[in-house]
Symmetry: C2
Subunit: 332 residues, 2 copies
DNA sequence: GCCACGTTCTAGAACGTTCTAGAGTCGTTG
DNA sequence: CAACGACTCTAGAACGTTCTAGAACGTGGC
């Protein structure tokens, strides 16, 4: 265990292989300009010395950072899923990711600042809370792609799900099962709430169910769903579409505690396909976002901006899909 | 939006403030050696130019990386919690974290390799799957601290929870409620399983309940818990302590589907206090690990190793604690 | 006035790597 | 044989910052 020991550098490899430092660099980068015999000799020495490139030096000198900074929250399981997709997409485009977490005790500004110092070529922000103006200022410095939130500013790129469409899918699914009395627990003042509420209204209207439109104020947390459920108890609908999965579990809990059977007495649809939704003990029917497509598009957008491309469609809106599980069934 | 625009450097600030580059560096680092008047002038210029230090250059030149690499998995909600604690602990010690995720499509070796190139001073690995020999080789290069897994090698530091103690707490809690017929669903071949199994046995023996010892092979996944539940159905105990929370939810689901009331007919205890355990709809009694203490100790250990300290206790084992929720109650 | 010490400030080199221009070699063609 | 082009290889500079040694200046003591 060698705490302070210097690591082998290109110079060490070069000395032992009997070539110049620049030639070793060419070999390690797999760039053209070295003979096969030299390559083999250099690689042999590098392997023996266990040479590892120093990314700091590389990034500093090359003047071309192929680094994408990603800000994610530890509080959103969905962000973990997005990381999976983003790593893949970045790898395909020859980029590296550097991650910075927002935690209950480390705010978004701190997370972003760290990435600026790393000289990332672009930033990908997962569901940022910062005001639009702040995001725009940031985008004055470097390309910024926001995921899962609509941001109305020409300098900030957006990749998000069509939330209106998502709620329409939920209502369509319930109508298909035979439901007419379908309520919606909205997301109160959350940005996505308006789109989802609109989607609910549109779909109900489309199915000729205007008279059954019923919207309960909700929110994004478990207790928001629980509170909304209590408001439904005296006159329960046969189905309810909830703003998100977490609120849906709160609602499910209250229904269960009042001996309402799901989906027998009342069907429940969540939103997001959060990781706990798939637990057999919850088995939540939900609206899922297309993670891989979103990740691919976000990385592509970031890379295009880095390359100086004129981006035609600043905002990309992706269709969601239904994931049907055990909380929905025909009405009695 | 300026894609290719060069960022302001120390040299730019120096030129405008009319001082040397080295003096600007002294000011930005808050190092001694500049007058108050000069400091003010330099900071004013730096603010106006929006100077941000280039961490690549800083790390490269300073020869002292205050960077801790953290490898975490997107599949473990618990790791997200640990990140929160690790950021705090690192900040307190004047270190930065750089994160590297293991995903279903990005293996652990890849995650580790990226951090080596960043020239991290030390690595903190959250529940690594790599064999001990591989971890030891890694520890030959730089300090390695493993969290949440026991690794028996003198070069690798370990910070983990006392899993034996955890199961003892679970059994103690159930005995206190009046249970005697307490079963344990183990974790099959998972490293932590043996400790937890031993803890269960020890606690049962301690309470004079040897004749009631009953161990069902399980595992770490939801279906493992479900399968174990099916084996318990023909002769249910009054309580069961499960290897981890995810398996516990699988078991809960099967119990519910067979009209067994929890905790009326059977009490259930999980392990880990995963984020979904606190959902009101699950409300799982569980054994929790002390996240902040673990994070603090892991960072301290890493920093001590970097400083060349002779570490006295290579392995630190931390006491867990019970989180009592709705899945446990007195037996009927 | 001279010397010693402390503080501020500067110049130059170094960190590890890549970029770029040029030298040297070899093979082909006229 | 000479000229040209392609390929291999090298030397030196650059990236942005910190480290280090030394110069300059001011103050206090003798």
């Amino acid at each position: 265990m060698r705490t302070g020991e210097r690591r082998p550098t290109l110079a060490d490899v070069a000395a032992e292989a009997g070539v110049s430092v620049a030639l070793v660099s060419i070999v390690m980068r797999e760039a053209p300009g070295a003979s096969a015999a030299t390559r083999q000799r250099v690689l042999e020495v590098a392997r023996r010395l266990d040479y590892q490139p120093d990314s700091r030096a590389r990034l500093l000198r090359s003047g071309e950072s192929r680094l994408l900074g990603v800000v994610f929250s530890v509080r959103h399981p969905f962000h973990d899923d997005l990381l999976t997709g983003l790593y893949d997409a970045a790898d395909k485009q020859g980029y590296e990711l550097t991650l910075s977490a927002v935690t209950p005790r480390r705010d978004e500004r701190t997370a972003i600042a760290g990435l600026l110092q790393d000289r990332c070529a672009a930033l990908i922000l997962l569901g940022p809370l910062a005001p639009t103006a702040e995001l725009a200022t940031l985008a004055d410095r470097l390309p910024v792609v926001v995921m899962t939130r609509a941001v109305r500013h020409r300098a900030v790129d957006v990749v998000r799900t069509d939330d209106s469409r998502g709620l329409q899918l939920a209502v369509d699914h319930l109508v298909e099962l035979g439901h007419r009395r379908i309520a919606h627990v909205d997301g109160a003042r959350w940005v996505a709430s308006a789109d989802r509420r609109q989607g609910y209204r549109d779909a109900m209207r489309r199915h000729g169910l205007e008279e059954f439109v019923r919207i309960i104020p909700g929110g994004s947390g478990e207790e928001d769903g629980a509170r909304a459920a209590r408001l439904l108890l005296d006159d329960p609908p046969t189905a309810v579409a909830v703003f998100n999965d977490l609120a849906a579990t709160g609602l499910l809990d209250v229904l269960r505690r009042h001996n309402l059977d799901v989906p027998g007495d009342i069907s429940v649809v969540g939103y997001d396909d959060s990781s706990f939704s798939a637990l057999a003990h919850i088995d939540l029917t939900t609206v899922a976002q297309d993670i891989d497509t979103m990740a691919t598009l976000a990385v592509s957008r970031a890379v295009e901006r880095v390359a100086g491309a004129q981006v035609v469609h600043r905002e990309t809106v992706i269709a969601p899909r239904m994931v049907i599980r055990g909380t929905t069934g025909p009405p009695r």
